[in-house]
């Protein structure tokens, strides 16, 4: 027995136990808020308001989801966000990938100049106001176009793509096609693109998530409610109880019916918040497992740079 204990403390077993415990605690901490939000979204509104939910759902109701789906702005936001995400990501790919490919070619004269040209913008920029005035001078403020154009090129992603191309598309491959009379454009579309599915996956993921979650650009550049993306409406709903309090205090002469209506929404306010979180994050949850295999590959591609 003593011999066994001694081995336990001296050998790697104790170490393994400590690692396992730390990782387990980590896992619980990462998972808990996610489970909690899901549980709250289907729990009884009274239980949610009273803070009785701790892990699993208390009671069961879908009335929160029903209310969220009745909320018209959410649908407008959804449609706009899908449009911005799809078109924006497409523009991202058209701008980023050809440029990254050209820069990965070692026979490109001046590639170092262009790399510096792009990388400077990672650290130095005009800042918020000059950018705003610039976009205003193009007449793009409060247009849908600005939502898909802005951020068309992420220099970081371009460098990731360049490393991928120079690492996994051998020069000789495209050289052979060139000798056979294939143009650079045809080369890129017919030979390079089919070989870079993993890269496209990573880029769609990086850019797509950025578009889906983007909030600040819309806040700065959009004015019409009909053009707002989901995140702006989301913010409104999530601050709703605060808004209600304000309307209550600003208009003390509300009719009994109005107060009853407000109270009803107030009762469900927290529930609705949890539901709206789930509804807005759902597409990510669905896409996530499908693109997951690309994650590590993508970051590994990026880490090769030097």
């Amino acid at each position: 027995m003593a011999e066994k204990l001694k081995r336990f403390f001296r050998g790697s077993q104790l170490f393994q136990w400590i690692v396992n415990i730390i990782i387990f605690v980590f896992l619980v901490v990462e998972l808990y808020p996610i489970i909690y939000v899901i549980s709250c979204s289907i729990s009884d509104p009274e239980a949610v308001n009273a803070g009785k939910v701790f892990l699993g759902p208390v009671g069961f109701t879908l009335e929160g989801y029903k209310r969220v789906l009745e909320y018209k702005d959410i649908w407008i936001g959804y449609a706009n966000t899908i449009f911005y995400t799809v078109v924006g990501t497409l523009i991202n790919l058209i701008v980023t990938l050809p440029c990254a490919y050209a820069l990965s070619r070692k026979d490109l004269a001046g590639s170092k100049f262009f790399m510096i040209f792009f990388m400077i913008t990672m650290y130095i920029g005009g800042g918020l106001i000059p950018s705003y005035l610039n976009i205003k001078s193009f007449g793009l403020v409060n247009t849908r176009a600005i939502m898909v154009i802005l951020g068309a090129l992420s220099v970081y992603n371009m460098i990731v793509a360049r490393s991928f191309y120079s690492g996994s598309i051998p020069y000789e491959l495209t050289e052979a096609a060139r000798i056979d009379g294939c143009s650079e454009f045809a080369n890129f579309v017919k030979i390079v693109m089919p070989l870079s599915k993993a890269l496209v996956g990573v880029m769609v993921l990086y850019y797509g998530i950025g578009h889906w979650n983007s909030y600040f650009n819309a806040l700065v550049y959009l004015e019409d409610r009909s053009k707002f993306p989901l995140q702006i409406f989301l913010r409104e709903v999530l601050l709703q109880s605060k808004l209600l309090e304000e309307t209550m205090s600003n208009n003390p002469m509300l009719s009994a019916e109005e107060i009853a209506y407000l109270a009803e929404i107030e009762r469900q306010a927290d529930l609705i918040k949890y539901c709206v979180i789930i509804v807005s994050t759902l597409p990510m949850i669905i896409i996530y497992p499908k693109l997951q295999k690309y994650f590590e590959k993508g970051i590994m591609i990026g880490s090769v740079k030097g």
Binding site: Y101, L108, S131, Y132, N134, E184, D270, Y274, T281, M284
Partner: protein, 312 residues
């Protein structure tokens, strides 16, 4: 002399030929170059308005020049010490706590024996990265709510007093940092984990034969392997020391915690677009950029001195 000129001409001719024969490659780059010129370089000349009393109607060339008046106003303003201190506090916390944790996580994950379990832990840890800032901030507010938030429920369950997290300025930095770690630790650990996969297994076997403990192997083999990655990430992080994630800070702010939560970039937004004080806002932004560059260059210089490797 003549020969030299001819050689130069020949070189230039060759260069031109090289460029011309590859014109299609430049066309491929055209969209990116155009975008960068129009949306990144063109606004840079707008920085000039930091030295002006800018009026939109009169434009950049018609507005009056005021020299450094906007900067003087900034340095004298009530908010300047507050936003500078808050920005530095938030970014230093991120650097001291938020930076090493993903490295530790990667090292620990590397020690897990069961591959399926490890993949599961990793998958779960990436998930929060995909939650939008808006959603993240409301989850934080709801969790910390004194009325029915789960954190305060737990505190009262153990007999403690309710804490008004969002109302007190002193809590803000911790809320921002801890939630940031929760959201980003898994994602940031990938790059270190990837670097760990290139550790030579022969080295580990040799260490086994020499009787090295697990901890020793981590310290003497795994850690040195990822140091170059760590250095690059560290310098990159230093370069953005004053550009704390403003979206999240902006969304977590309220009137009560403003003393602890107003940072340079949120201040730029408020002064610039909410109060339309364009010149002053641009001056604040320019100050931010200059400090960032100075820190980046010094971090790179220091890293070259100490570890012999740098970013540029």
């Amino acid at each position: 002399m003549k020969r030299k000129a001819r050689q130069q001409y020949k070189q230039r001719y060759n260069f031109r030929k090289k460029v011309l024969s590859k014109w299609q490659l430049y066309v491929l780059m055209l969209p990116a170059v155009l975008y960068t010129l129009l949306f990144s370089y063109k606004p840079m000349y707008g920085i000039l308005i930091a030295f002006q009393d800018f009026r939109v109607r009169r434009g950049i060339w018609g507005s009056d020049w005021v020299g450094l008046a906007n900067f003087e106003r900034l340095f004298d303003s009530y908010w300047f010490p507050i936003i500078l201190k808050n920005t530095l506090t938030l970014s230093t916390l991120g650097l001291v706590i938020g930076f090493p944790l993903p490295i530790i996580l990667a090292l620990l994950l590397n020690e897990l024996k069961n591959e399926k379990y490890r993949t599961f832990v990793q998958t779960v840890s990436y998930m929060p990265h995909f939650i939008s800032t808006v959603v993240m901030c409301s989850i934080i507010t709801m969790f910390l709510s004194p009325a029915n938030g789960v954190i305060n429920q737990i505190i009262t369950f153990f007999g403690g007093e309710k804490l008004y997290f969002m109302q007190e300025a002193s809590w803000f930095k911790w809320i921002n940092e801890i939630s940031g770690i929760w959201q980003g630790i898994g994602w940031s650990s990938i790059i270190y984990y990837a670097a760990l996969s290139s550790v030579d297994s022969a080295l580990l076997e040799a260490a086994d034969i020499d009787g090295a403990s697990r901890l020793q192997k981590i310290w003497y083999i795994n850690l040195p392997e990822i140091i170059p990655t760590v250095v690059v990430m560290f310098i990159l992080r230093c370069g953005s020391i004053l550009s704390v994630g403003y979206e999240k800070v902006y969304l977590l702010q309220n009137d009560m915690n403003l003393i602890g939560s107003e940072i340079i970039s949120t201040y730029v937004y408020k002064v610039g677009l909410e109060q339309s004080d364009f010149s002053f806002s641009t001056a604040v932004g320019l100050f931010n950029t200059v400090v960032n560059c100075v820190i980046l260059i010094s971090a790179n210089w220091l890293s070259k001195k100490v570890t012999k490797s740098g970013l540029f």
